[in-house]
């Protein structure tokens, strides 16, 4: 990786970054703003009049293919009357990021307060929409376990590299602004438009390398020298600024999400019709759909089921759903439109319109086997092994890994409620332990072999939902396969201390017992002292990388005996379904008729030969 220095902010000298294309794309959209804004006002007017009598009226006014009004929102910042590059408060010089943030907050004086209540700050999500929300413990990154970097409580110092504080911290109390000292807020983490600030900030902040990198890279780390230039560059969030964290979630580019990776910084329309630059795409940024109210973003994998439609027309608030813009009957312009619309009460939009994930250059991780951690290279140092395509198959710090590109999502019934396990959750006693994959069954990332090998593995996270539930839809998910450490006695999902100065940290001495003991202590969980490993699975939501309409799944993809839904029961699916007894009975009748006819014909021929008599003799 090459050094990233302050010159990068010198517009004349710097080489074009991928993010620049995003900025240029937004600039190109400007001519459309006038018309778009007019449309927006018109639509709001209609909406205001209509909202009183009928919410449906407001929805239809923002209905299908109405990209222009929504587009206006994506460039609302570009329409701003404030040019931050000219503010004297941002002229600098600044010695540190903290000074930049103080300058920001000198005008935006409620910014910190707004952020303190957001999921981006608290990493905690209290479900409010669920009827039994009181019974549900808070979700969110602070609380849940997963099959990637396992869980945060034991690794706050490493994980908070990605926190909007812009600085790492160890104390869980700092997530809670209501009592005691809270973590700071770093405006630049989201509002520096190239995302390079955040990348550089990770590195300068002393993030553990293995959190994002599978192998040790040579060369300089990115760094920031001119805080004033950074400060003057601020603006609305961009694909690149959001992507600095979200495209690299849980261990590097595209590792966690097949549908969110750095390919989306400047995607072609074939990869994402919404985020590709106009005119091929709609030129959306993340916040076009993930609209904000007081810094709170709409759209979270913890809330909003696929059936919640379309309570939030895009123009009157939170938007992050397909129906918000496209309505629940979006196919009116298609040839078989009515028949396609008929699917929306059972099939989520994403199922057909995101035919595969990780369709660009970046692959996504499908296997993470922690049980093989710790094999050192010949030089007694951590090492990485790669396959012939250059993909990492083993890393000393992480174990056996496999990734795949152009992955077909798995289709499941979902009501939108993610059932998420936590560190300390006890897996069923029947779960086979110490069943590492050793990489042998899954060489080369064979997804079918992986799915078969993990067919009985319990879920650390999966969607609630069933065919019989009217609120459930068929949705696409990425299924992650992991072999994770558990307490050998209680079968509880283990918290692990990955990094830090302590000799107990996994990445320092590769001693599982010590790393889990420290991790469980940090997470306030009991530990027997013995570590085992268990295969687990996890569903990762798929909502991005919407393909152009002509690349959506066709009828035959599912309406076939061995189609994509062959293994997902429920619903009436002509081509796959039919009462089995009826088919048997029907085919039996056909066979019987045919047999009778043939027997009759043979008898006629036979008698004709032996009798050799014409009729009526």
């Amino acid at each position: 990786m090459s050094a990233w220095r302050c010159e990068a902010y010198d517009q004349r000298n710097r080489p074009p970054l991928a993010a620049d294309f995003a900025l240029q794309a937004e600039t190109r959209e400007r001519p459309a703003i006038g018309a778009g804004a007019l449309l927006l006002r018109l639509t709001l007017l209609v909406g205001l009049v209509g909202a009183i009598t009928s919410q449906a009226a407001a929805q239809s006014s923002s209905a299908p293919d109405a990209a222009p009004p929504a587009l206006t929102m994506s460039v609302a910042g570009a329409n701003s009357t404030a040019d931050h590059s000219l503010f004297t408060q941002l002229a600098g010089p600044f010695e540190s990021a903290q000074e930049v943030n103080q300058a920001c907050l000198s005008c935006h004086n409620t910014g910190a307060e707004q952020l303190h209540g957001t999921t981006h700050f608290t990493w905690s999500f209290k479900p409010e929409t669920a009827a039994d929300s009181a019974a549900i413990a808070p979700l969110g990154m602070r609380h849940v376990a997963n099959g990637f970097l396992l869980s945060t409580p034991s690794n706050l110092g490493a994980c908070t590299s990605c926190h909007i504080a812009g600085t790492r911290f160890d104390e869980p109390q700092m997530f809670d602004a209501s009592s005691g000292p809270a973590a700071p807020v770093d405006c630049l983490s989201c509002h520096e438009p190239t995302g390079q600030w955040t990348i550089a900030n990770f590195h300068e902040g002393g993030a553990a390398c293995a959190m994002c990198h599978d192998e040790r890279l040579s060369g300089d780390t990115p760094e920031i020298n001119d805080f004033a230039a950074v400060a003057r560059s601020v603006g609305p969030t961009t694909r690149a600024s959001c992507g600095a964290c979200h495209f690299n979630a849980d261990g590097g580019a595209g590792v966690k999400h097949g549908d969110l990776n750095p390919d989306l910084v400047n995607p072609p329309a074939t990869l994402d019709v919404h985020m590709a630059a106009a005119p091929e795409g709609a030129g959306f940024t993340c916040s076009t759909c993930h609209t904000t109210t007081d810094h709170v973003l709409a759209g979270s994998r913890y809330e909003g089921g696929p059936s919640q439609t379309p309570e939030h027309p895009a123009l009157s608030g939170a938007a992050a759903s397909c129906q918000g813009c496209h309505s629940a009957t979006p196919h009116s312009n298609a040839a078989s439109g009515a028949r396609l619309d008929r699917h929306t009460d059972r099939v989520a939009c994403e199922t057909c319109h995101i035919p595969s994930i990780a369709r660009g250059e970046t692959a996504t991780r499908i296997l993470w086997d922690w049980s093989t951690v710790g094999k050192l290279g010949r030089d007694r140092k951590p090492m990485a092994q790669k396959d012939e395509d250059g993909r990492i198959t083993y890393a000393t710090e992480k174990g056996t890994l496999a990734e795949a590109g152009n992955v077909l999502p798995t289709l499941v019934w979902s009501n939108g409620r993610l059932m998420q396990q936590r560190p300390g959750a006890e897996l069923p006693a029947s779960v086979a332990t110490n069943t590492g994959t050793n990489g042998d069954q899954v060489e080369g990332g064979d997804l079918a072999a992986l799915a078969a090998a993990f067919a009985d593995a319990p879920w650390v996270a999966n969607y609630d939902g069933a065919a019989a539930d009217a609120q459930s839809r068929i949705v696409p998910v990425k299924v992650m396969h992991s072999v994770v450490p558990i307490d050998a006695e209680s079968h509880a999902l283990a918290s692990v201390l990955f990094s830090g100065r302590s000799g107990d940290a996994l990445w320092n001495r590769f001693n599982w017992e010590n790393a889990v003991a420290s991790g469980m202590e940090a997470a306030n969980l009991p530990f027997s002292g013995e570590v085992a490993f268990a295969r687990v699975r996890q569903t990762i939501p798929v909502n991005h990388m919407v393909a152009p309409a002509d690349q959506a799944l066709g009828c035959n993809s599912c309406h076939a005996a061995n189609g994509l839904l062959a293994d997902l029961p429920g619903g009436l699916l002509p081509g796959r379904d039919g009462p089995a007894w009826l088919d048997k009975a029907g085919l039996a009748i056909l066979a019987l008729t045919l047999a009778t006819v043939l027997l009759h014909a043979m008898l006629r021929i036979g008698f004709a030969i032996f009798h050799r008599r014409a009729r009526h003799d």
Binding site: G554, N556, A560, P574, D577, G586, T596, V597, H611, D617
Partner: protein, 210 residues
Amino acid sequence: MTEIARPKPRGIYLFTAFERFWHWFQAVLIIFLLVSGFEIHGFYSLLGFERAVNLHVLAAFTLLVLWMFAIFWHFVTGQWRHYVPSTHQMWATILFYTFGIFFGAPHPFRPTTKRKHNPLQAMAYFGFKVAMAPAAWISGLLLWGYGMFPDLYPGDLPVLWVNAMHIAAAFLIAAFLIAHLYLITTGETVTAQLRAMITGWDAFGGEEKD
């Protein structure tokens, strides 16, 4: 072939032009509906699901229009009487098909313009017209409406049952087709009945009895 009484060299004119047009157009449509229908049901892949569905619907509505004309024709011309079930000569016909046919016995029934079909035939066609065909088109229309006009679909009617009825009707019609194709070879000669349905003239038709 032994000479039998032939009142006219060409026999009798049994099937009028419209009747033959109706029969053959209906035959083509029903065979196509069976082929495309069983593809939609998932037995094989031939046209592709979407095209199979679209053409199936098109053929089905064409057949409904044809049937409307045919029903009108039947009532206007009084030809519906041919399909009224009758037990007259029933046993004789059954015995012919189970025994007599093998030993060269004469068919107990001879078609006339007053009664074109033997009792078994009339019963089978009657069953097709009042049971199999309506089961297919009523359930088919419901399924079509379920897809195209969900608001009009009766909510408490399980679509899986409607689908099952449609499939059951299709199997029965397919069985009917197999039997029909074989039984037309049981005329006076193997091709006599086929020729009658093509030309309209039945060489072995009986004289008017009244």
